[in-house]
C-alpha cells in the first residue's frame, strides 16, 4: 500500500523522534516529491519535543504544546506513519525492515534514528516501582503522579537533564535531593566556582545537592523508599529519577552487521558502513563523539538532507555548541573547551553583589571556552567568537564585560573611554555609584585620592574591581593633581585584596568555603594558586574551628604528608619530645624504627628532639605506627604550627633554677600542640636569666625569675636575628599559660599567612599587643577561651590517623596493570 503513492524511491525512517522527523522535514524542504516516505515509531505518540520535557514536568507547558508534528503534518506530506510498532530487524540483502507485528517494509534508502536509552546504574533495586528515568512523556506522567502524592524525590545525576528534572519536581512541591557522582555539578560544562554558585542557587529553590555521592542500591519493600550510598549514607525517597547519561540504541544496526562503536558510526554525510543506510541523532557516533544536544543534531539532519535530497555538498562537522540550563532564575551557560589546550589562559570576572561569575578560556589569542553564571546574555556572542576562531587581541581588555561594552569601547583607549562615558554610567556595580556622582564628589569636595573617593561615595569600597576605573576618573577630573596612592600588597596575583581585607570579609560575610571567598572577593582565577590557597585554607580553619573541613589540596606537601619533603623526595620524621624530655623506651623505639626502615640519617635537632631523615613516602604510615605504639605523636616539624617548646632543666636539677622551667615547658607544649598558626611558632622556657633554653630568640619565650615569669615575644634566629621584647611579667604558672595562649590566638586571628610573630609585631606594634593582651584582661580571657575552643578539634594526632589508614591514597603509588610497569 505504501508504494501505491508513486513510483518514487522508498525512504524508510526507523524512529519517530525529533531527529528522524527533523531529517524528514529537511529532506522534504530540499526535494519535496523525491521519496515515498515511511516513518516507523515504537512509541504510540506523535513526534514531540523532548527538550520540552522539563517545562512539561514543571507545568510550564502542556503535552499539546510540545508536539512538533501532529497527524496533519504526516498527512499533508503523504508520510506513512507506522506508530506503536517496533522495527525488529533489517535485512540488508533484501532491503527491508521487519516489524514486530510480522509485516516487512521494503526500502531503497533507510535512515536509522533510533535514539538512545537512559543509563541506569546496575545496582540492586532498579526494578522497584518508583524508580524512573526522565526520557519520555510516559516518565513525566509517572513523575507527575508521584508529585500529586507529594513527599521526597531523589534525582540521580547532576547533569543538565537531571537538574532540570529536579527543578520540575521542586516546582511540583516535592522535597528534592540531587545525588551526583562527581565533585562538580554539570562537570562537562561547569567548573568548581560555577558549580558552587549553582548549588547555592538550587538550595534557594529547595533543592539539596550531594556531590561525590555514589549509589549502591535502591532500597524499599515493594516500592522504593530510598537510596543507599557508598559512604554509608541513606537518602529517603518516595520517587527516584535516574538521569545518569544515555547509551545510543544500536541493537538493530549491530544485528544488521553495520559498523558500530559506542554509537552507529557514520561519515560526513551521515552514511553508515552500508551506503543505502544512514543514521542521525543520539544513536550516532561521529569522530568518536556521541551527541545529546540539539544544535549538532540539527546540523546532522541538514547534512543528511543534503546527501539524500540535495547535492551532498553539505558535510557534518563537530563544532562547539553552547549549553544553557533551563532553570528559571539561574542563568547558566557554557560553551567550548576548558582543558587540553596549549598555553591556555583564563580571564575571570566575579561580581559578588549580583552573584555573577564569568570565566573565559583563551588559547593563543583566541577564545576557546566560556562559562557564565548569573548573567548569560552574552553566551551566544562568546559562542560565535569561539566558533569563528577570530583573534581577540584587540578586544581582550573588555571581552569579559560582554558584547555591549566591547563594541562601545572598540578602538578607544581606556582613559578616553572613561571620559566618554555618560554621567549616568555605573562605575561601581557593588554600591551602585555612577560616574556623575563620583565626578561631582571629586570637584565639589576637593577629593584627591582613591581613599577619599571611597569614603565619600563608597565607589570601589567593596570588591575593588572598579578601582582602575575610579583612578582613571580621578586622573581625568584632576589632571596633574592626582597621584596614585600606595596600594595594598595583594595576597597574590589572583586578587587585588590584601590579607587583612580577606580575613575581615571572611568574618563579616560568614564565608565558610574557598569557592565562597573567591566569589565574594572576586578572585581572578578559577581556583586560586599555590600562594593564596594555603592562606585561605588557614584563614578558614582559624575562623571556623570544628566547622571548616581542612582542604588537603590546598596544603603544601609537608602539611599534607605530615613530614618534611627533602630534596630527593624522601621525608623526614620528627616525633614530639615534650619540653625536650625523652625516655629509654622512646629512644629504643626510635632506634628500632631507624633499623627496620633503613633510615639513613638520625640527627638531634636544635629544638631538642630527634630527626629521622630519608624516610620513603610509602613507609611513613608504618613508621608512624611504630612510633605511635611507643606513645609518640607528630612533632609538626613540617607545619605552620606549634613546633617545639625548648626548656632547660630548672629547679629540679639546676642550682640556679628559680622555677620548674621543664615542667612549664611540658605544660605549654601539651596545651598548645596541634594548633595551626600563620607561620611556624617556636617557644622556649628558661629557668633563670642565664637563659640556657635561648628563650630570647623565640617567637614566644619565658624567662623564669624569683618572683614569677617574664613573657617575651617576637624573637627570631633564622634569616633574621632578632632578640625578643618583654611583653609582661606574671606571677603564677596559670597566668603564664593564659597569656601565652592569648598571644598565640591573637596572632592566629590577626596575622597574615606566613608572617612570623616578629614581623606581625613590627606591623601592628608591641604597644598595640600589650594593650590588647596585658591591659585588657577581658580580651585576654576571651582570646584564651577561643584558643581552647579551637584546640578541641586540633589536638588529634595526624600520624595516628594515617597509621590507621586515613588518606591511604596519599602514601600509596598507583599500580599499573602491565606487569613490566610495576615498581
Amino acid at each position: 500500500m505504501f508504494d501505491a503513492r508513486s513510483q518514487r524511491p522508498r525512504l524508510v525512517v526507523i524512529g519517530n523522534g525529533m531527529a528522524g522527523c527533523r531529517a524528514v522535514e529537511e529532506i522534504i524542504a530540499l526535494a519535496p516529491d523525491k521519496y515515498a516516505i515511511t516513518i516507523i515509531g515504537a512509541e504510540p505518540n506523535v513526534n514531540y519535543n523532548r527538550i520540552m520535557l522539563s517545562p512539561l514536568l514543571a507545568g510550564e507547558k502542556t503535552f499539546d504544546e510540545i508536539v512538533i508534528n501532529d497527524r496533519a503534518w504526516y498527512e499533508a506530506n503523504a508520510i506513512d506513519l507506522i506508530a506503536g510498532v517496533a522495527a525488529t530487524a533489517i535485512d540488508r540483502d533484501a532491503k527491508n525492515v521487519a516489524l514486530a507485528d510480522g509485516r516487512t517494509v521494503p526500502y531503497d534508502q533507510l535512515i536509522l534514528a533510533t535514539g538512545s536509552t537512559p543509563f541506569v546504574p546496575p545496582v540492586p533495586g532498579v526494578d522497584l516501582p518508583g524508580v524512573v528515568t526522565f526520557r519520555d512523556a510516559e516518565d513525566v506522567n509517572t513523575m507527575k503522579a508521584a508529585c500529586d502524592r507529594g513527599g521526597r524525590a531523589v534525582v540521580i545525576g547532576g547533569g543538565l537533564l537531571g537538574l532540570e528534572a529536579a527543578y520540575g519536581l521542586a516546582r511540583n512541591g516535592m522535597d528534592v535531593t540531587v545525588l551526583h557522582l562527581m565533585p562538580i555539578l554539570m562537570e562537562r560544562q561547569l567548573d568548581q566556582s560555577a558549580s558552587h554558585l549553582l548549588t547555592r542557587a538550587l538550595a534557594a529553590r529547595g533543592i539539596a545537592v550531594m556531590l561525590e555521592a555514589k549509589t549502591t542500591a535502591f532500597v524499599g519493600d515493594g516500592r522504593v523508599e530510598g537510596v543507599q550510598l557508598e559512604d554509608g549514607g541513606f537518602a529517603p525517597a518516595d520517587l527516584v529519577v535516574v538521569s545518569a547519561g544515555i547509551r545510543p540504541n544500536t541493537a538493530l544496526a549491530q544485528q544488521a552487521g553495520l559498523d558500530v562503536a559506542r554509537g552507529i558510526t557514520v561519515n560526513h554525510t551521515m552514511q553508515t558502513s552500508d551506503p543505502a543506510i544512514f543514521a542521525v541523532g543520539e544513536c550516532v557516533e561521529f569522530e568518536k563523539q556521541l551527541f545529546g544536544l540539539v544544535a549538532p543534531i540539527w546540523d546532522q539532519c541538514r547534512a543528511l538532507a543534503s546527501a539524500l535530497g540535495g547535492d551532498g555538498a553539505l558535510h557534518f562537522q563537530c563544532s562547539d555548541t553552547g549549553t544553557k540550563l533551563k532553570v528559571s532564575g539561574c542563568e547558566v551557560y557554557s560553551a567550548g573547551l576548558f582543558a587540553g589546550h596549549d598555553r591556555s589562559e583564563d580571564i575571570v570576572y566575579r561580581d559578588a553583589a549580583r552573584g555573577i561569575y564569568k570565566r573565559l578560556v583563551l588559547d593563543n589569542e583566541r577564545l576557546v571556552g566560556a562559562v557564565l553564571f548569573g548573567d548569560a546574555d552574552d553566551g551566544p556572542w562568546y559562542l560565535s567568537l569561539i566558533k569563528s576562531g577570530e583573534s581577540i587581541v584587540d578586544i581582550r581588555e573588555s571581552l569579559i564585560f560582554g558584547r555591549a561594552v566591547t563594541e562601545a569601547l572598540a578602538g578607544v583607549n581606556p582613559s578616553d573611554a572613561v571620559a566618554a562615558l555618560p554621567a549616568t554610567a555605573e562605575i561601581c556595580g557593588c554600591n551602585g555609584v555612577c560616574k556623575g556622582t563620583i565626578v561631582e564628589a571629586i570637584t565639589q569636595k576637593n577629593l584627591t585620592t582613591l581613599d577619599d573617593v571611597r569614603s565619600v561615595t563608597k565607589a570601589s569600597g567593596s570588591c575593588g574591581s572598579c578601582t582602575p576605573l575610579v583612578e582613571s576618573l580621578l586622573a581625568a577630573t584632576l589632571g596633574d593633581g592626582f597621584e596614585r596612592g600606595p596600594s595594598i600588597k595583594p595576597v597574590c596575583k589572583c586578587t587585588d585584596h590584601g590579607h587583612q581585607r580577606v580575613r575581615e570579609e571572611i568574618l563579616a560575610h560568614g564565608l565558610k568555603s574557598m569557592p565562597e571567598i573567591m566569589q565574594q572577593l572576586e578572585w581572578k582565577t578559577p581556583d586560586g594558586c599555590a600562594s593564596c590557597r594555603p592562606a585561605l585554607n588557614y584563614y578558614l580553619l582559624c575562623a571556623w574551628p570544628g566547622d571548616y573541613k581542612d582542604d588537603k589540596s590546598s596544603r603544601f606537601i609537608n602539611e599534607r604528608a605530615h613530614g618534611n619533603i627533602q630534596k630527593d623526595g624522601t621525608f623526614s620524621v620528627v616525633p614530639r619530645m615534650w619540653g625536650g624530655l625523652t625516655s629509654p623506651a622512646e629512644l629504643r623505639a626510635i632506634a628500632d624504627v631507624a633499623d627496620k626502615f633503613n633510615i639513613p640519617t638520625v640527627k638531634v635537632t636544635g629544638g631538642q628532639r630527634i630527626d629521622l631523615l630519608g624516610v620513603k613516602k610509602e613507609d611513613l604510615p608504618a613508621v608512624w605506627a611504630d612510633l605511635g605504639a611507643a606513645g609518640m605523636v607528630s612533632g609538626h616539624a613540617y607545619g605552620k604550627a606549634l613546633r617545639t617548646v625548648k626548656t632547660c632543666v630548672g629547679t629540679d636539677w639546676c642550682r640556679f633554677g628559680t622555677q620548674d622551667s621543664t615542667g612549664l615547658g611540658v605544660k605549654i607544649e601539651k596545651f598548645m600542640w596541634g594548633s595551626w598558626t600563620p607561620a611556624k611558632v617556636k617557644m622556649a622556657v628558661s629557668g633563670c636569666p642565664r637563659n640556657c633554653a635561648e628563650a630570647t630568640c623565640k617567637d614566644v619565650g619565658v624567662i623564669c625569675v624569683d618572683s614569677g615569669y617574664e613573657i617575651h615575644i617576637g624573637g627570631a634566629a633564622g634569616l633574621h636575628i632578632k632578640g625578643t621584647e618583654v611583653l609582661c611579667k606574671v606571677t603564677t604558672e596559670a597566668e603564664a599559660l593564659e597569656t601565652i595562649a592569648a598571644i598565640t590566638q591573637f596572632y592566629r586571628e590577626d596575622a597574615h599567612y606566613l608572617e612570623r610573630i616578629y614581623k606581625w609585631m613590627a606591623r601592628v606594634g608591641l604597644d598595640h599587643i600589650k594593650a590588647c593582651i596585658v591591659d585588657d584582661s577581658n580580651n585576654r580571657r576571651a582570646l584564651h577561651d577561643r584558643f581552647v575552643l579551637s584546640q578541641r578539634d586540633a589536638q588529634v594526632d595526624p600520624w595516628a590517623e594515617r597509621a590507621n589508614g586515613a588518606d591511604a591514597d596519599e602514601f600509596t603509588p598507583l599500580r599499573p596493570a602491565l606487569a613490566e610497569a610495576a615498581e
Binding site: 599555590a530 588537603k552 590546598s554 591514597d809 598507583l814
Partner: protein, 113 residues
C-alpha cells in the same frame, strides 16, 4: 612518531581533585594529575628545575607548583610558566569506563633503545 602504548594505571576515582598520584614505568616516575575542572593530565614526575616531584605540588587551574622551589609547570604541555624556562614530558592520558589510561609509548621506545 612513537607507537602508542596505553597502560591501565588504576581507577579514575583514585586521582583526587586538585591532586595527583604517581607510578613508576620502568625507571621513570609518572604523575597523573586531576585539575579542579576534572581534567586528567600526565607528566613525567620530574621538575625541569632540579627534578622535584611535581606530583607533590599544589594543583591550580591547569598548572602545578613544584614543592621544592615553586616553579609553575603547565599540566597540559609540561612547560615551565612565567619567567622560568624548561620542560618535562607530557603524556597522553584518557579515562575510559572509570579507568585511567596513560600512553607511555614515548618512554617505552626510549627505554628499549
Amino acid at each position: 612518531m612513537n607507537t602508542a602504548l596505553w597502560i591501565d594505571v588504576g581507577a579514575a576515582a583514585a586521582i583526587p581533585s586538585r591532586g595527583a598520584r604517581r607510578f613508576m614505568f620502568r625507571d621513570t616516575p609518572i604523575a597523573v594529575f586531576r585539575a579542579g575542572d576534572g581534567g586528567l593530565f600526565a607528566l613525567i614526575d620530574r621538575c625541569p628545575h632540579k627534578g622535584g616531584p611535581l606530583s607533590e605540588g599544589i594543583v591550580h587551574a591547569r598548572s602545578v607548583t613544584c614543592p621544592l622551589h615553586n616553579w609553575v609547570i603547565s599540566l597540559e604541555t609540561g612547560n615551565a610558566q612565567g619567567s622560568d624556562s624548561g620542560c618535562t614530558h607530557a603524556l597522553p592520558v584518557e579515562a575510559r569506563d572509570g579507568q585511567v589510561f596513560v600512553d607511555v609509548g614515548a618512554l617505552s621506545l626510549a627505554a628499549s633503545a
